[in-house]
């Protein structure tokens, strides 16, 4: 491994700390799709997203498939090609699995995006004689491990190295500005999707290359385009100083504790957690890292478990113990209620928020005959084991809060107090996910928990409701009746009869003054488990209220209210 003195190009002792090697797999999405579907390597592959080609492999491209054309055009040019819809998860999964080999070879690297990774050249100085031999060694190791083709690119900044990798180039030290100046302005799209709108504006202003942009005065660019413009200007001038987040090793930081006797007392659990959390945080700290998210798992004596991931801004033992206490209370309270209703006994108001959810102490439960050990009712026995896993790790720098986050600390404090009083699910932050109806696009997540969308928000949802949308979401079975009191049927072509009255389950009825066209949604017919067929209808009642109705399995539901 020692440097060979005969070589012409020794790595200089003082490497520019930003000099970076970028390795990129050309047409990564196509490669990932081929691996996902286990395709023959000679099959041409075309990847579609939003109806447009976003990646195609070399075979398909030699047949004339170019990026941005539609499905039909691609099939016309290359009829034997396998056309696959883009799958973001497969993209990421295959790449992170493949680059695992790199963990053995280099000290530090960063995954920029699926298909692209960056290695600071400073970290290769001790292992390899010069840049070309380092690249050769890394690529041959990666290729023999994964079988993918890699394009290398070396330059003085990460952004320039990404551009260089697309041309498989090595930019000499100090020549990066000249290299960047010649690149077209739309190269900025490789720096991130947020630059897309700037690219258009720059184009209209007559800035054709990155050199044109870099030649402008930095202050002028900042005052016209703000922070984003300043960053674009820095990138174009080869001054990108964004520190990269290092790829954190796949090693897991976790601690576990088994209890001698199961307990339902959340204060006991909180007390035990404090020590456990201190161990975990010390472990993480020893590696020079900071933990920003934590996964808490509780296991009951009967084998049931509850897992939640929490984001905590100022991570401490107390904060973790609080989260665990909330989680345990909510879980045990929820299970004891369902357990009770199964045994048929009346539910005495446990009131989910009480600090002690031990049922036997409740006066209402005292006079009930003991139902005996019930395997479902694990709240009686309680929690037997806890485990804490550091779910998101970052360097200390990455966790620093910005000065410009206005009064978040105070807000966090207030909301945590409310969560402590009413349970974690009392404070919800809004988010959007994919779906057709407002009830499906709603993604309310408890404060400081990681949102987990079930449906891809970026996928197309044909037939989705357009603005104006209902203000509140409901799910109430109702009857929609014709003039002579019969239920209104719905067919794909439209309603069978004119709806005149709507009857609510509580007994009230209201006359329908006007109604929209009905539009059906049919999805998932290829998979019985996900098959959906429903018809939506908007009505305006005589009192001027607008409602969104939906008919599913022969029953009308009130799904949204405009109020």
């Amino acid at each position: 491994m020692s440097a060979d003195p005969a070589l012409e190009l020794p790595l200089p002792d003082r490497v520019d700390p930003d000099r970076t090697l970028v390795l990129t797999v050309p047409d990564w999405s196509a490669v990932a799709v081929a691996a996902e579907h286990d395709l023959d390597p000679r099959t041409p592959v075309v990847v579609l997203h939003g109806g447009r080609v976003i990646a195609a492999d070399a075979f398909a491209r030699s047949a004339g498939v170019i990026l941005g054309i539609g499905r039909r055009a691609a099939q016309l040019r290359c009829p034997e090609a396998r056309v696959v819809i883009w799958d973001e998860e497969a993209d990421n999964r295959h790449f992170s699995a493949g680059v695992g080999a790199l963990e053995e070879l280099v000290a530090r690297f960063t995954l920029l995006s699926p298909g692209t990774l960056a290695i600071p050249l400073g970290s290769l100085r001790h292992g390899y004689a010069d840049e070309p031999s380092a690249v050769e060694a890394l690529i041959s190791a990666l290729v023999s491990e994964t079988g993918w083709e890699f394009f290398p690119g070396i330059a003085d900044t990460v952004f320039a190295a990404v551009l260089a990798a697309r041309q498989a180039r090595r930019v000499e030290p100090g020549a990066t500005r000249r290299f960047l100046a010649a690149q077209p302005i739309h190269s900025l799209e490789y720096a991130g999707a947020e630059y897309a709108e700037l690219i258009d504006v720059f184009g209209h202003l007559g800035l054709r290359t990155l050199g044109d942009l870099a030649a402008l005065d930095a202050r002028d660019v900042t005052s016209r385009f703000g922070e984003l413009g300043r960053r674009a200007h820095d990138l174009a001038g080869g001054r990108g100083r964004t520190p990269l987040h290092d790829h954190v090793r796949t090693e897991q930081f976790g601690v576990e504790l088994g209890l001698d006797t199961p307990t339902t007392r959340s204060d006991t659990l909180g007390f035990l957690t404090r020590q456990l959390a201190a161990d975990l945080l010390a472990k993480v700290r020893r590696h020079g890292l900071v933990c920003t998210q934590i996964t808490i798992e509780l296991r009951a004596a009967g084998g049931q478990s509850s897992t939640r991931t929490w984001r905590i801004d100022d991570m401490s033992e107390t904060a973790i113990a609080d989260r665990l206490r909330w989680q345990a209370e909510g879980w045990l309270a929820g299970s004891s209620q369902s357990g009770r209703s199964q045994t048929g006994s009346s539910r005495s108001g446990a009131g989910g928020s009480g600090s002690d959810s031990h049922r036997r102490r409740h006066p209402g439960a005292e006079d009930l005959p003991d139902p005996g050990p019930d395997p479902e009712d694990f709240a009686e026995e309680g929690v037997i084991a806890l485990s804490l896993v550091a779910a998101e790790l970052t360097t200390a720098l990455g966790a620093t809060k910005s000065l410009f986050d206005e009064n978040t600390g105070q807000v966090t404090h207030t909301l945590e107090r409310l969560q402590g009083l009413f349970g974690p699910d009392a404070v919800l932050v809004p988010g959007l996910q994919g779906g057709w109806d407002p009830a499906e696009t709603n993604l309310w997540t408890p404060w400081q928990q990681t949102a987990t969308p079930e449906r891809n928000p970026r996928a197309p949802w044909p037939g989705a409701l357009r603005a104006p949308r209902p203000t509140t979401v409901e799910h109430l079975p109702v009857d929609v009746l014709t003039a002579d009191g019969r239920p209104v049927g719905a067919r794909p072509a439209g309603l069978e009869a004119e709806p005149r009255t709507i009857r609510f389950p509580a007994g009230g009825t209201e006359a329908i003054a006007d109604y929209s066209g009905s539009w059906p949604i049919e999805s998932g017919w290829w998979d019985p488990a996900h098959s959906t067929y429903r018809t939506r209808l908007q009505v305006v009642t005589e009192s001027g209220q607008a409602l969104l109705l939906s008919k599913e399995n022969g029953q009308w539901y009130l799904t949204g209210r405009y109020c």
Binding site: P430, N442, T471, G494, S516, G560, Y562
Partner: protein
């Protein structure tokens, strides 16, 4: 010692306008501005918004402030549709929905007043006069804006939506497009679209105004039609 200096030393008032500046109303969507006496959502006061479409009206009112990183919380609103909140222009990063039992709304509000800027409350019950007075005092002290979706004692501005007219459905041939609302406030009777065709508040298009309206306006065209109530 000159009076000005004395005031600034002893009371922290640097200029005469600073007296009023601390209470400057929060900016709102231009279509909604004429509803309020001072052209924006007042601080340290309770605003009552009632009638149909009042939740949309409240969310549209807070939209401008949330985009300026002011924190807003909703209490007792049920399950709002996130898509419509986003349509009305609310910054989702500064909105939280608090789901607590209806009888706890006053306790929740008193906790949130400590650090939030705007609260939208659908009160679960009418508080007693004493509780009401303490809430009002707290609102005034923290200078937060509280929008109540039910008539509230001590509210300084009352906005009541008296009429809504949806358009676009056309008896089975269209879909909901917009809603023309008539709102009565202390500044008169106003007519505008909430939501408009794109989900945000909008002015009534000139041609669909049902009554002939005096077209010339002395100042720049106002988004609403005023009449003396």
């Amino acid at each position: 010692m000159p009076l000005v200096e004395q005031l600034s030393r002893e009371m922290g008032i640097s200029t005469a306008t600073a007296l009023f500046h601390g209470h400057a109303p929060r900016p709102v969507h231009p279509v909604l501005a004429p509803l309020f006496r001072r052209g924006g959502l007042p601080r340290g006061e309770i605003v009552a918004m009632t009638g149909p479409q009042s939740l949309s009206c409240a969310l549209a009112t807070i939209a401008e402030a949330t985009t300026e990183q002011k924190w807003c919380a909703g209490i007792g609103l049920g399950e709002p549709a996130v898509s419509s909140i986003a349509d009305l222009g609310v910054d989702l990063d500064h909105f939280v929905n608090v789901v607590t039992p209806a009888q706890d709304w006053l306790r929740v509000a008193s906790i949130l007043i400590e650090s939030f800027d705007i609260l939208v409350v659908d009160p679960g019950y009418q508080p007693s006069a004493g509780e009401q007075a303490r809430l009002l005092a707290k609102v005034r002290e923290r200078r937060i804006s509280l929008i109540s979706l039910a008539p509230a004692k001590g509210s300084t501005e009352q906005i009541e939506i008296t009429d809504t007219r949806w358009s676009g459905t056309e008896h089975g041939r269209g879909r909901l497009r917009s809603c023309q609302v008539v709102a009565r406030s202390q500044t008169g009777v106003h007519r505008f679209l909430l939501p408009g065709p794109d989900g945000t508040p909008a002015e009534v298009p000139a041609r669909t105004v049902p009554t002939p309206v005096p077209a010339p306006m002395p100042r720049r065209t106002r988004p609403v039609v005023r009449s003396v109530s």
